[in-house]
Amino acid sequence: MKKIINDPAAVVAESLRGLAVAHADLLRVRDDPALVVRADAPVAGKVAVVSGGGSGHEPLHGGFVGPGMLDAAVPGPVFTSPTPDAVQGAIAATTGPAGALLIVKNYTGDVLNFETAAELAAAEDLDVRSVVIDDDVAVKDSTFTAGRRGVGGTVLLEKIAGAAAERGDSLGAVEALARKVIGQVRSIGVALSAPTVPHAGEPSFDLGPDEIEFGIGIHGEPGRERIPAEPADALVGRMVEAVVSDLPFESGDKVLLFTNSMGGTPQLELYLAHGIAERLLAERGILVERRLVGPYITSLEMQGISLTLLKLDDELTQLWDAPVRTPALRWGI
């Protein structure tokens, strides 16, 4: 393992220190438990939007803290959800009478820890609600699994819920919007190589030189099936089919297309894939009205991409376009 680190146990803390000095105008970082909080938090009268999860998915979540998006992000250790006292710390630092919305990805650890934190906050008479995002079409959703994972759609959800909170919506309204987004966003990911978790020191799984993991999650946990490597047209076609057929998205639908690098895939390949996805959607009569292309929800240095489609209406488009000023997403301000 070659990484630019010191002690594997100190990776998250040292990285957060860098985030803090690089973006002192937007956010503050607190130690033990680790928290990333908007510089001007708590914002009077505003619903707080709080998210978090394991580290290693940067810029998710700390990179999305700032006006128009998250009030606080709670980073856990690498690929491990934060503990309830950390989540509670984020709620305490950001939440007033307007309450807080917790955005939770559907992973067993995240759900258990955020659930416990919400109970603790409720005991202190704070109005805290949670939504669980589960947009990954690769996972069979049944009573016999942990359910679909929360993946790329999380970025879009955090932006839209953050915009709604910023314009002054009530907690009930922000929550309702979040649930609407969760209902109409779907994703699929593929991996060409495995990530290496600093404390493990070796790749999270073995992938042959001519193999692709189809349906990968954001922790490098193996996906649904392993397929032979194939040209981008075929691979992106397979991904578009998986996402479109799930909701399903239909001819005439207006959508936001988010093409994401899992960390190790360069822009050259990312834009190549994005171009193919747009063409394939156009052939189906699906209208791409907004785009996001880049590494926004990653899995350390894993090579691979994910595609996320969100069905838009006028309100969602307006909230997506609303000003945002964070380390990783910034427009309109």
């Binding site: 503990t83 006292d85 067993t108 650890g109 258990l112 820890n113 699994t145 999270s204 946990e221």
Partner: protein, 207 residues
Amino acid sequence: MACTAEGVAAALRAAAEVIAEHRTELVDLDRAIGDADHGENLSRGFTAIVSALETAVPETPAGVLKLAATTLISKVGGAAGPLYGTAFLRASAKVGDAAELDVPLLLDALRAALEGVQARGKAVGGDATMVDALIPAVSAAEGTADGTIAEVLTAAADGADRGAESTVDLIPRKGRASYLGERAVGHMDPGARSTALLLRAFAEAAR
């Protein structure tokens, strides 16, 4: 060793050593079906328990178990933190203010731990989780109810070993491993393995 507060503390220190020794094994088991953090997370939690016990050992076994529970919940994260934390918390609540654990209290504590884990994680036997180690552990412990504390815990550890072994052939239905479906068959569940390791450490400490 008597199951006083100091005895329970000694068992937890022994458990911390065992978890540290098996940290890499647990990381590797988790790497095969999950995200390679189980050994790291548990090791962090038990190291914190040992540090907390250095400051002060609570007066009752329940106090020690509660300290372990809150430390695990606040240091481990992931699914293991809340699940193990709940197990120790329920065990603590069950033994109340007893100055020393006897076999009936120990059995009550083990049953409470199992019920707590099932309530929090909503897993049942056969899901390929730590519950698959805990169920045979509790039932083996109940089968030796007329033995000593050490005999009961040894039976529990044996049961947990068998249970952990049984997860190799199961299709996981909870946690991250469930995303793998049939591809996880052939791999032992890391949570079941750590449960077996912990009970073995407790049994050895009780000798």
